[in-house]
Every structure is written in C-alpha cells, then in structure tokens.
C-alpha cells in the first residue's frame, strides 16, 4: 500500500468534534494476567500513567540487565569459536596430524596452553557443527562453489577430531604443549650476551616476557615474576626504577627469583618428537632399536632444554641492573661499617648511636648476606662454566656425528 501525498486542493473538514466519552462496560473487566497487564499496572501505579516515564524506566532496566550480562539469553561461548580459518588450515592433511597446530585447528590459538577443558569442549563442538561431513554435503555455499559436491571430503573434520583427541588427554596434551609450534617460534628471539655488550636492550621488557613464557613449564606454580611486585597502583610507577623499592624486599625477591630459576623444575618432555617404529615391521630388534634411539634423543633434548633455560638465567643474571645495585649497596654498607670501626678506634669517645650488641648483630647479618651473595655468584659461575662445557661437548658430538 502506498501513501499518496496530500491532494493539492486539500482542505480539512470544517468542523471538528471531540472524542466520544469513554465508558465503563457493564460486564467489562480487565483480565489480570499476561505481560501487557503487568506493564499496564506498572504504568498506572509507578509512572502515573505517563508513557514517557515508563519508557525511561524500561530503558534504565534494560541497561541494568545488559550491564549484568547474560540478559540476552545467549549461552556463554567462553570466548572461543570466532577465529578465522584460512585456506592453509582447511587443507591440512589428517595423516600429518603430528605436524598440525591443534590449537589452531580448534580455533584456540589465542588461548593455547591456557585453554581449559570447558573451552576445548566448546570449541570442538563449534568446529564440529561447522565442519561435520554431513553438514558439508548440504552446505549451500559449498554447493554453489561447485566444490566437494559428492566427494567424501572430511579431511579437516578428521584433523578436528585428532586435535580434540590430543587436547583432551592430559598426558598427550602435555607432550604437545612441550613442543607447541608457537612456543618454538618465540624461543629463538632470545638476546645473546653480545647484544648486551654493544647496545644493551632495556632489561625488564626484554626478559620479563621470556621468563613469563618459560614459566608455563614449571611444575611449581606460581612462578616468581622478574619484576619486583609493588604495593598499591603498580602502573603509575616505572618498573625499571630500582631505587624506589625497599632494599631488603628487593634483595629478597631478586634472590628468590634466581634461586627459583636455577632450580627450575620443568615438566617439558619430548615424546612428541619420537620417531615412529617402521610401519609393517614386526621385528622386535627394530622396535627396540628405535625405542632406544628415541629414549636417548629425548634425554638429549631435555638436557639441551635445561641448558637453554640455564643459559637464559645466566644471561639475565649477568646483565641484571638490580644485582649490580645490590652489590653496590652492600659495598657501601661495608665501607660505611669499616669507616665506623675506624672512627670508633680513632675516637672512642664518639657518641655511638647504637649499642655494641646491636652493631654485632648487624655485622653478623651482613656477613651472612655477603656469604649468600658470594655463594650465589659462585654458583652462577659454576653453572655458566658447566653450560659452556656442555655446549662445547654438544658441538663436538655434532661435529663427530657429521664427520
């Protein structure tokens, strides 16, 4: 139906009348049920029959409901399932499942190892809904493209199932997480010692993400952070500002940090990279040989990994400005003490602020601290030497292997 414009010669009827008076029907009664009735009595009792007030109140309620969340009746999707799928992903070969990125396949690459069981389940359901072979056959867009019409194309679906199988089994998931491809990518960009000699990058922003990344493998959780935690609003202060901290807290934290990382207990393992026993071979010897090789390979990789982490910690320790600061402070304290004893010896009458006992205590404490620091440094040195030795040995072994 079209609405026409007013005729050019339109003139309204001359006389207007009033509304017919409203009546109460003799048998009439309003029904006291239904959503509209509740709105009606709210309008009458709470908003004096003014529709504008009712509208305002309803808008307010809706805002509140929206703020509370879950007001829209949608199920919480746990933040999964909206990752894009590119051509490369969809053309994955299920036979090569060991090489695929299972998190990417399930659309969980933003969560990776942090994804919990519920999220994995949800993501799997969503993917299955989209990629089930039954669905594909009837998918109009696929049909329109003329692809996969009557082919039994369930390759990606198989990949999804494999990913689900791996990620829902805690042992296999641990193995996969150990060699998570995205982790392997990141692992390479660790600065070397030479970087720090020539043009040192900022300390905290360089190392904090590295330790953050490594801490996932720790059996002991939580893992101490590189940066010293601050009280109150952390963001307003510069994390690089060391002097800002209370000295004992800073020292305790830094020491605890290095202590933790030198005794790092990692669950990382390398079963995932095991070579398969030759297919079709029933030979027990073959099997044993491969198993033995795998075992030694695993052990080698694990050793390398430990050395890698140790190397990072060593490097970090060697360039840590806080260690330098602590050393400096301690030296100052020592010198101050020395000066004080000298003074005491020279001028015994000097008014001593502290009693002898207190001084002695202080001395003992300092000595202890120094000892600890020395031990730490020694340990670090030994570790570095150890790592270097290992590296040399590994290099030699490789050389030998190549030869």
């Amino acid at each position: 139906m079209a609405i026409f414009p007013l005729p050019a010669n339109y003139a309204p009827p001359a006389s207007t009348s009033k509304l017919t008076p409203f009546v109460v029907q003799p048998k009439g009664k309003l029904i006291t049920a239904g959503p509209a009735y509740f709105a009606h009595i709210r309008l009458l009792h709470e908003h004096d029959g003014d529709f504008k007030k009712l509208d305002a109140a309803t808008a307010l309620e809706r805002e509140k409901a929206a703020a509370n969340g879950n007001g829209n009746g949608e199920e919480d999707d746990l933040g999964v399932g909206d990752e894009s799928e590119d051509e490369a992903l969809l053309s994955l070969d299920p036979k090569e499942w060991k090489k695929q990125d299972h998190y990417r396949v399930l659309g969980l690459s933003h969560l990776r190892w942090t994804a919990n069981a519920a999220q994995i389940k949800k993501a799997h359901r969503k993917k299955v809904l989209r990629h089930h072979p039954d669905k594909k056959a009837s998918d109009p867009t696929v049909a329109a493209l003329g692809l996969n019409l009557n082919t039994n194309d369930d390759a990606f679906f198989k990949c999804i199932q494999k990913a689900h199988e791996v990620l829902t089994n805690p042992e296999r998931r641990r193995q996969f997480d150990s060699v998570d491809p995205s982790f392997l990518e990141e692992v390479d960009d660790v600065p070397s010692a030479s970087d720090f000699k020539t043009n040192p990058p900022p300390f905290l922003p360089t190392f904090a993400p590295i330790f953050e990344r490594e801490s996932r493998f720790s059996r002991k959780q939580p893992v101490p952070k590189l940066a010293v935690p601050r009280e109150g609003d952390a963001s307003s202060k510069d994390p690089n500002d060391i002097e800002d901290h209370d000295f004992p807290t800073l020292k305790a934290h830094v020491e605890a940090f290095y202590d933790f990382w030198y005794n790092f207990d990692s669950w990382r393992s390398f079963e995932w990279l095991d070579k398969e026993v030759n297919e079709g071979s029933d030979s027990r010897d073959d099997k044993r040989y491969t198993e033995k090789k795998n075992k030694s390979e695993r052990a080698r990789r694990k050793k390398d990994d430990i050395a890698r982490v140790r190397g990072i910690v060593d490097l970090c320790l060697s360039v840590d400005p806080r260690i330098k600061y602590i050393k400096l402070k301690e030296k100052e304290a020592r010198e101050a003490k020395k000066a004080a004893t000298n003074k005491k010896g020279g001028a015994p009458a000097a008014p001593a602020g502290k009693s002898k006992k207190e001084e002695e205590e202080e001395k003992a404490k300092k000595e202890e601290e120094e000892k600890a620091a020395k031990a730490e440094a020694k340990k670090a040195k030994a570790a570095a030497a150890n790592a270097a030795k290992k590296a040399r040995r590994a290099a030699r072994a490789e050389d030998g292997g190549a030869a």
Partner: protein, 637 residues
C-alpha cells in the same frame, strides 16, 4: 511500504526475554475436575505442556488405593472397573465444600462421598487399604537354638481403612504432579500458578491454595481460566499473538462450559462478557460420553443379544459401563486426531463377551450433535446478551479435551455464523499434542507463562504484588480511532476518501499508546521542496452489514434436520466515518523515491504515535527518523 504496527506501549515491555535466559523453575498446573495438565519452561525457553513420567499430557484426576499400592493419574482409571470403591475421582469440585452442600444424586463408579467420621459437616472418602505390617522384631542373640538361614517371613499386611478428605486427595494428587515437573526440570520448583474455575467461591479457592501449599509448593496465583488462556494467546508462541482482536474462549470441560468474549488490545484483555454453565443437560464431555455409551450399549445389545441396560441397573452393568467409558476416552482421542474411523474395543464387556466396533467421524458428530447444539446455543445467547455480531469475533480459542473434536469446530462455525476467516486452532493448524494451540495444553501453558511473569514482577515491584489482582473499573473507548490519508477522489476505493488505518480499536482500556511507521509521500513543491504531509484523525464505526440472499435450492445441507430454511445471510464488515477529530499537518525532509514510475516525488518515513491518556486526551505526534517531532495534534474529550 505497507504501514506496519510497531510494538506498542503496553505489550512491548515483556520481561519474558529476561526470563528465558535462566529458565524459571516454575510450573503451571491446569487442575480440572476430570483431567489435569502441567507446563514448564523447556530448554528452548518456551513454556510447554509436558508429559508426566508415564507419557501422559492429560493426567486423569484420580487416585486409586489397591492393597498397599496407590495409583495416581491415568493408572488409577482402570481401577474404577474392579476397585471402584477405593478409587477417588472428581474431588476438585468438592474442595472447600460442606458435606451438606454436596449433591449426592449422581451415581458414580468411584468411591462414595461420606460424612467425615470425626469432623462435623466435612465430606470424606473412605477407602480400604492394606497397611504394611510392622517389621519383625530383631532376633535376640542370647541362647536361642541355631538360627535358620532362611529370612524371617514378613508378616501379612493388615487390612485397614483410610479416611481422606477431598482436600487431602487434592494434596496427594498435586504433589504427584509437582514431582513430575521437578523431575522434568531437575531442580526444585520456585512457584506454581494453578487454574481455578470461575465458579469457585473464595472458600473453595482458599481450600485449593491450602491443598497446594500442603503439597509443598508456593502458589503464586490462582488463575481464572480466561486469564490463563489470555496469557497463552498473547504470548509470542501463539500465531498472531500480538495482534488486536476479539476472541471467544470456548472451554468445554467434563461437566461445565465456560464462555468468554475478550477484546485483546495490544496484549491487554478486556472481558466483554462471560458465562459459565455447570450441571446443565448436554453440556461438556461427560454428557458426550453418556450419549456415546448409550449408542454403543444399544449396538452391543443388537450384536450379541445381551442387554446392557442404560442407565445401568445391575452391578455388572455398572462395570460394563465403566469399561465402555474408559475405552471411549481413546476412541474420542483417535477421532480428534485423525479423519479415519476410530475403533473401540473392550474385552469381556458384559457376560464375558468381547466387543469391538468402529465409528466414523460423521456418525460420531451426529451422535454428539445434541451437545454441539447446546454449546452453540449458549454461545449465541452470550453474544446476544452483549449485542455482538458473531462476525466481529476474530478468533476462537478452544480449551479442554472435548474441544479437540473437529466436529465441534465445524458445527460452531456454521451454526453460530462466524465469519469464514475466523481463526481457530484448527485453521492455524496448531492442534496436536504438545502444540501451543492444543486445547488440552492451553491452560497449563498460560499458567506457566504467568508464573514466570509473576516471579519477575515480584522481584521488580514487590510493593504492587498485593494490589495487582484488584482491578478498578477501567474506562474503554467506544469507537475505533483511525487515521485517514486523504487522496484525490480518483483513487478512493473504500468510500472513506483515502487510505484508512485503524489505530485504537474500540473497547481499548485507557491509557493506551500505539505506534505506527509509515512512509509518506511529500507534497507542497517540486523536487526536494516538497516537505508537507498530513492525515486526518477520525472516529469510525465498524459495523457488520447484513445482506439477505435467497439460497439456491441445491445448496441445502441434507444431514442436519434441526436447521430451518432461511435466506442465507451475507455479512460484510464496513467502516463508516463518524466524527472528525482533526488533521495533523507536518513538515519533514524526504528522500527521492526510487520507483521509476513516481520519478520526482519525495517520500519520508515517519513514526506516528497515538497516546490516549487516562485523562481522556488524545495526543497524536509524528516524528522523523531522528526522533524529532515534525507534527502534532491534540484532541480533547
């Protein structure tokens, strides 16, 4: 663009959406005298009539005691045959009644109503039960001969009697319904809304409420049947639920008939007239059954030469009649569900003789026609009493198992004279078990919807809960108010001088608001200089014009003999202008119309709001797409 009514002030603010996310744990119970049904919110977020654990959507209101067992629901019905003395039926209508008020004249196969042995003037049922025997005493360990390894035989249960008041029976029955609902939902129920028939007195309602509270549920409201129907029929689940229409509710119970004519105005229901008939001849499902029983008894006598006297004279006759009645339930349901002839088969109906018969729809409708006719005459007299033409009814809502019969629907449509496009559950094809329009589930669904609404309402406006059931008198409009877009006389097709749109129908309770979105063509200049639009606001009368046409001789239906020859009436709805209220002139900027035939014209989408306040002032406002007012009209009453 066709003007499309936007959701308006009253119905738009439904809190149902919010209720859907966390499905409210509420139950709606339609508690009839013969059958009950329960509805809950299912996983889809819709209120639905559900089946109990025995797969029954219609649960017979019966309790049978057999030895140590207690049967509740449809399982209790077969007990009527052999164990009628210990089976309780029809207890709802006795709720809250005194013994002296109860009419005992009707013979029934179920347990008789007696005076309560200890309390004065209280009705009760006396049933024989077997009390489980007390567990045997633990054997002593001292100095007894070597114990036998066989288990100690359990002593026999003791015969005993139990006295039950109708109230206790109701509590028992309702708690079994609640158990079914709890099992379905898997969580405890927060509240229930239960139907109460309109003829219930306050004492009876209190008794029902108390019985339900004893069953362990919070009763949110006792809902009149018409109210429960309204809640269902205005819900989004119902086809065309949001439209304004005049609705006739036909509730055919087992022994009663309730009729209501309701003006549905954007979800608000206004009762124009209602009537409840109980205990009249030829009303309801029981009357229908007894007609059928008579027919089949006669057929049985003819076939087997064994008399099955009606009304039953001997004990065996009573039993045979009960068997026949039980079998007929299935026959009726089969007839409602499919157009094929339905069968009836009873093993050992009388004197050890089996009986099998089939009945076609045509035969059935013929047998049932006295019931159909009395229902249609009641409808006619109700419509007459409120001076309403059957043609003004837009929708018929059927309630109750008997209303599932397609024969009743077609009989009513022809004999009362509804218009051809009247909507029913049959024409909407929402019949069938579990469907929203199924007459057996309408009430319980409505109760569940209302329960969810009430829970929300109690949370949002607790101070209004006390008052919401008390309604003051409400003023309503007498004539329909509409807008008329005048056109030049050439395009005038309906005799009104333009395009007419009804806005506020008659019988709309005050205050009311309606919103329309209309695309108007602009005038008053060339090209984009055209900025003017306008429309008239009229009060109109919608009438039914009756033209009598002599029927062609061949058109006479041969089957019905109670219809007289009369000229056929052709009814048409006509709209006539009664009072001119004013013209709204507005100015707004438009956009060029894309249609090639109307090149050079400009049009604009405007939202037109009609607000009819409680003070009786009509405000018409036109707004552009940005929400700014572009035209206004105020009409005083």
């Amino acid at each position: 663009m066709a003007p499309k009514p936007a959701p308006n002030g009253n119905a738009a603010q439904t809190p149902v959406q919010a209720a859907q996310s966390a499905l409210p744990a509420v139950v709606g119970i339609n508690f009839g005298n013969a059958y009950a049904s329960i509805a809950v919110y299912t996983k889809e977020g819709l209120a639905e009539c559900i089946a109990n654990e025995n797969g029954e959507r219609q649960i017979a209101c019966a309790i049978a005691f057999h030895g140590e067992e207690i049967y509740i629901g449809n399982q209790a019905m077969p007990q009527l045959v052999k164990n009628g003395q210990n089976t309780i039926t029809g207890f709802r209508n006795l709720l809250g009644k005194k013994f002296s008020e109860i009419d005992q004249s009707k013979a029934a196969a179920s347990a008789p109503i007696i005076q309560h042995p200890t309390e004065a003037d209280i009705p009760a049922y006396k049933v024989d039960i077997l009390q489980p025997a007390p567990t045997p005493l633990p054997t002593s360990t001292t100095n007894t001969p070597a114990a036998s390894h066989a288990a100690t035989p359990r002593s026999e249960p003791m015969p005993s009697t139990r006295i039950l008041t109708p109230q206790e029976a109701t509590t028992m029955f309702l708690s079994s319904l609640l158990q079914s609902a709890t099992d379905f939902l898997g969580k405890p129920i927060l509240g229930a809304v239960i139907t109460a028939p309109p003829f219930f007195t306050e004492t009876q309602k209190d008794a029902l409420k108390k019985a339900a509270e004893d069953a362990g549920v919070r009763v949110l409201q006792l809902l009149d049947e018409a109210n429960a129907v309204l809640t269902t029929t205005t819900s989004p689940q119902w086809p065309g639920g949001a439209e304004d229409r005049t609705q006739l509710i036909v509730d055919v119970g087992a022994s009663s008939l309730s009729l209501s004519v309701i003006a549905l105005r954007s979800g608000l229901g206004y009762i124009l007239g209602s009537r409840t008939i109980t205990d009249a001849a030829n009303i309801g499902g029981d009357a229908l059954s007894s007609l059928l029983v008579k027919y089949f008894a006669k057929e049985f006598a003819k076939k087997t030469k064994t008399a099955l006297s009606q009304p039953p004279s001997s004990k065996e006759d009573v039993r045979a009649t009960t068997k026949l009645l039980l079998a007929l339930e299935y026959t009726k349901r089969t007839l409602s569900a499919s157009p094929a002839p339905a069968s009836l088969s009873v093993e050992s109906l009388h004197s050890g003789l089996d009986y099998t018969a089939t009945i076609a729809r045509m035969r059935f409708d013929l047998l049932a026609s006295p019931v159909y006719t009395s229902i249609s005459s009641e409808i006619k007299s109700l419509l007459e009493s409120i001076a309403m033409d059957p043609h003004s009814i837009d929708e018929i809502a059927y309630v109750g198992g008997t209303a599932c019969l397609p024969g009743l629907d077609s009989h009513l449509l022809t004999s009362v004279g509804f218009s051809e496009d009247v909507r029913t559950a049959f024409s909407n094809s929402t019949m069938g078990s579990g469907a929203i329009g199924d007459p057996t589930g309408v009430l319980s669904t409505g109760c569940a919807l209302q329960a969810a609404l009430l829970l929300d309402f109690m949370e949002a406006s607790p101070e209004l809960v006390q008052t919401f059931e008390q309604t003051n008198e409400v003023k309503t409009t007498v004539r329909t108010i509409g807008m008329l877009f005048p056109t030049s006389s050439a395009e005038d097709s309906n005799g009104l001088g333009g395009i007419y749109i009804s806005v506020i129908h008659k019988h709309t309770p005050l205050p009311a608001r309606r919103l329309f979105e209309v695309e108007v063509a602009l005038s008053g200049g060339e090209g984009d200089k055209a900025t003017k639009f306008g429309f008239e606001v009229w009060e109109v009368e919608e009438e039914i014009k009756v033209d009598k046409v002599a029927p062609p001789p061949s058109d006479e239906p041969p089957a019905s003999d109670d219809e007289e020859d009369e000229p056929e009436e052709v009814k048409t709805k006509i709209t006539t202008k009664r009072a001119f209220l004013g013209t709204l002139f507005g100015e707004t900027k438009g956009t060029p119309v894309k249609d090639k035939t109307k090149k050079g014209t400009y049009a604009a989408a405007v939202q037109i709001e009609f607000v009819l306040g409680s003070d009786g002032v009509l405000l018409v406002e036109a707004r552009d797409s940005k929400g700014e007012t572009v035209g206004e009209l105020r009409v005083e009453s």
